[in-house]
């Protein structure tokens, strides 16, 4: 760092308190660990993204333009495994959660700082196993590891990949545990549950899912490994096992896991919408409790992934009804965000553009989830591109937009620097356009009957596929722009000051970047969250 670039307003902070690689690799400071995670999830995002680029290039032609069919299978498997387990699940919790949970509760650190560092190492070890599986020749099971494909027919790398996912699971468990304990036990004086920022409610609900869901995935993957190693029939019907049991166990985790991915983003959006509307959130307790409701109900709907698997019709009916129920709390949130915008003094800075993008795209994804949750329509739509479009609208249009929105919002806090707002708004727009061009055609493709996970397709689907691939290249550019200006801003960005957005919340009451112990003295909280408009406290 050049001497002239040191922010003049701040003295010692968590970034310059210590130097050297050791001070990073052995740190127990939650803020530094957040940055370690930021670097590593970005790395995995780029790898997963590269796989997606190859897939979309391949699908430009009906017969496939690029890859062998077997390689194509490995691409979508690697893409799914890396994006779900190594990018999206850790993204907001491990990066922003780590950075913000202690600051938002007004504490010096998480309850168990060393455990926090351990969770990063566990994540890295899991990631290495998975990367090994990729380098050693890849797996072709999809991210779902369905049996008996994974236990009997797939190649041996599936063991390394499954082990990688198994190990990383413990990193989420430890992170969730740390958050739950911190939020329960370390809130600053005056910070009652109903004064908590909604981001914390969302992170809390997410942590509950991580804690209760992930161990089930762990045991399921162990059983897969057992069946594979000893050739005993747990899931393989040829050996006397039951493949449907695998699907039950897998989705018992993996449906709630989709809420691990979206809930934190919802939390971010609640912060952004209030800040950039300069208004209290509409219906605080509804938004807060809807997070908890989502966490609870999400454990009861896994069977909607198995409507055509041969599970009983009555089970299907119940799962369908419950899936409709889980959409209600999500809808409540969307309603309350829009009601917050109403008559607010809305400003369209970059984080807010991402937040608005989230609201629109998430709504599309959620509503199409209802098509899939209806027994009759799902028979037509199951395993088609409609499902792909559904979950990408939520996971990429929703969760990833929220992640980027949050990153743009808290970047000045994390680094003490401002990024160029014009470029940031531009990239938000590029991403929104590229995203819709990529995934909207997939709804139509799926509706017309194009199945997912195929390397070739009939001629008449080509136009829509080319549109989708074109959109994907725009989207890729949209993601690379922030990468460039974020890195640029670390060195050349103007100093941000403690509160560039005039936002409410404890994290804004300390310098940017914050000192190692976060606050000079323990803050005392005397007002509700989002007390915007009471008196305009900070003018930038």
């Amino acid at each position: 760092m050049s001497t002239t670039a040191v922010a003049p307003t701040t003295g010692v902070n968590y970034l310059n308190a210590q130097y050297g690689i050791r001070s990073w690799l052995l740190t127990t400071d939650h803020k530094r660990i957040a940055l370690l995670y930021l670097g590593s999830v970005t790395f995995f995002f780029l790898i997963g993204g590269a796989a997606a680029v190859l897939m979309r290039l391949h699908l430009i032609e009906p017969q496939g333009a690029l890859l062998e069919p077997a390689t194509y299978n490995k691409m979508f498997s690697m893409h799914g495994i890396i994006m779900v387990f190594f990018f999206l699940i850790p993204s907001i919790p491990a990066v922003m959660g780590n950075f913000l949970v202690p600051m938002m509760v007004g504490a010096r650190d998480l309850a168990f700082p060393r455990l926090n560092l351990l969770s990063w190492y566990v994540y890295i070890v899991g990631g290495l196993f998975t990367l090994y599986a990729v380098v050693a020749g890849g797996v072709d099971t999809g991210w779902t590891f369905y049996t008996p494909l994974s236990t009997t027919y797939a190649n041996g790398n599936v063991m390394a990949a499954a082990l990688g996912v198994f190990i990383t699971g413990f990193s989420s468990i430890l992170t969730g545990l740390n958050f739950v304990v911190t939020i329960h036990k370390m809130r600053a004086p005056g910070l009652t549950w109903f004064r908590l920022p909604l981001f914390l409610w969302a992170i809390y609900a997410t942590s509950i899912i991580m804690i209760l869901g992930t161990p089930v995935l762990a045991i399921t993957l162990l059983l897969v490994a057992l069946e594979r190693t000893f050739h005993v029939g747990i899931f393989d019907p040829a050996l006397g096992g039951d493949p449907i049991l695998f699907q039950h166990l897998f989705w018992f985790y993996s449906h709630p896991a989709v809420y691990i991915m979206i809930l934190p983003s919802m939390g971010v959006v609640s912060e952004l919408v209030t800040c950039f509307s300069r208004k209290r959130i509409f219906g605080y307790s509804f938004v807060a409790f809807s997070s908890v409701a989502i966490a609870v109900i999400s454990f009861l709907v896994w069977g909607h992934h198995m409507f055509v698997s041969g599970q009983s019709v009555y089970a299907g009916l119940v799962f369908s009804a419950l899936s409709f129920a889980v959409a209600i709390p999500s809808a409540i949130k969307v309603f309350n965000w829009t009601a917050t915008l109403y008559k607010g003094s809305v400003s369209y800075q970059a984080p807010m553009l991402y937040a608005l993008g989230f609201i629109g795209l998430f709504t599309m994804g959620g509503l199409t989830g209802l098509f899939l949750a209806s027994l009759a329509t799902d028979i037509h739509l199951h395993d088609t591109y409609f499902v792909i479009a559904h979950f990408h609208y939520i996971m990429v249009g929703g969760a990833l937009m929220g992640y980027l929105g949050g990153l743009h919002f808290w970047w000045p806090k994390m680094t003490g620097r401002l990024y160029p707002d014009g470029w940031a708004r531009f990239s938000a727009l590029v991403i929104f356009i590229g995203f819709n061009l990529t995934f909207f055609p997939q709804y139509i493709l799926g509706y017309l009957g194009m199945p997912r996970r195929y390397a070739v397709y009939p001629e008449e689907f080509q136009v829509l596929n080319v549109m989708s691939s074109a959109g994907a290249s725009i989207l890729a550019v949209g993601y690379l722009i922030p990468l460039v200006y974020f890195i640029w801003s670390i060195r050349y960005g103007p100093p941000a000051g403690p509160n560039p957005w005039g936002a409410k919340g404890l994290e804004w009451e300390t310098p940017s970047p914050p000192p190692t112990e976060n606050f000079e003295e323990v803050p005392v909280v005397e007002e509700e969250a989002y007390a915007y408009g009471e008196k305009e406290a900070h003018v930038v």
Binding site: R108, V181, A218
Partner: protein, 217 residues
């Protein structure tokens, strides 16, 4: 903060009470994940027991109920000694704490010894180890094999937890000798106690599920 901070107090906490509450809550949350972990296994077990009851019945009959009962008794005693150890720790009685830790460790090791050295060894010699040397003549051979898959896996995972528990207690014992515990600082002992009791409770479920299926005959 000008007041003197106790040496036992970690930097991120305000006072010892907060630290104590945080670590207990952390332990309980961890045990919740453990319940879900074993829960997946119990769910699988229940499904197959329902589907293949005769095979599970026949498999269970091949286990030695008496040895299982002996092990159950050993574990229950170890929970008692563990609880007494925690009490000694809260009262700051170091010698007593050391004694109870040693007893608990010995009971735990005996359990694992019997489990692996006697029972597993015997099952292996009887050709009951699926994937290694399983050979069973009789009806429902597949289901009997599945029973033994679950038997070995569940008791194996449980035994692994016992070994982890014993190692933790060994560390605590060493810390006790180094004088690390006193009436103000006994948190680690209490947490280890919670874990130990949890592992015992898992066994309380495993024993009837695995050994007593056919007991009504």
């Amino acid at each position: 903060m000008s007041e003197v901070r106790s040496a036992a107090l970690a930097e991120q906490f305000e006072d010892l009470d907060q630290q104590h509450e945080a670590s207990s809550l952390g332990m309980w949350v961890f045990l919740a994940t453990e319940i879900m972990f074993f829960g997946g296994l119990f769910a699988g077990y229940s499904v197959y027991r329902g589907l293949y009851f005769p095979g599970f019945d026949a498999g269970s009959a091949l286990l030695n109920v008496k040895v299982g009962a002996l092990n159950t008794a050993l574990l229950l005693c170890s929970s008692l000694t563990m609880a007494l150890g925690v009490r000694a720790a809260t009262l700051g009685k170091r010698r007593e704490l050391a004694t109870f830790l040693v007893l608990t460790i010995l009971l735990g090791l005996t359990f694992v010894g019997i489990k692996l050295g006697v029972e597993w060894h015997h099952d292996y010699l009887e050709h009951l180890a699926p994937g290694i040397n399983f050979a069973y003549e009789g009806p429902n051979a597949r289901a009997v094999e599945l029973f033994f898959v679950f038997y070995f896996f569940m008791t194996g995972v449980h035994a692994l937890h016992m070994v982890v528990g014993v190692s933790i207690l060994a560390v605590l014992l060493w810390m006790t000798f180094r004088g690390r515990f006193g009436p103000e600082r006994y948190n680690p002992v209490e947490m280890a106690g919670l874990y130990w009791h949890f592992v015992d409770i898992i066994w309380i479920f495993l024993y009837p599920l695995l050994y007593l299926i056919g007991a009504h005959h």
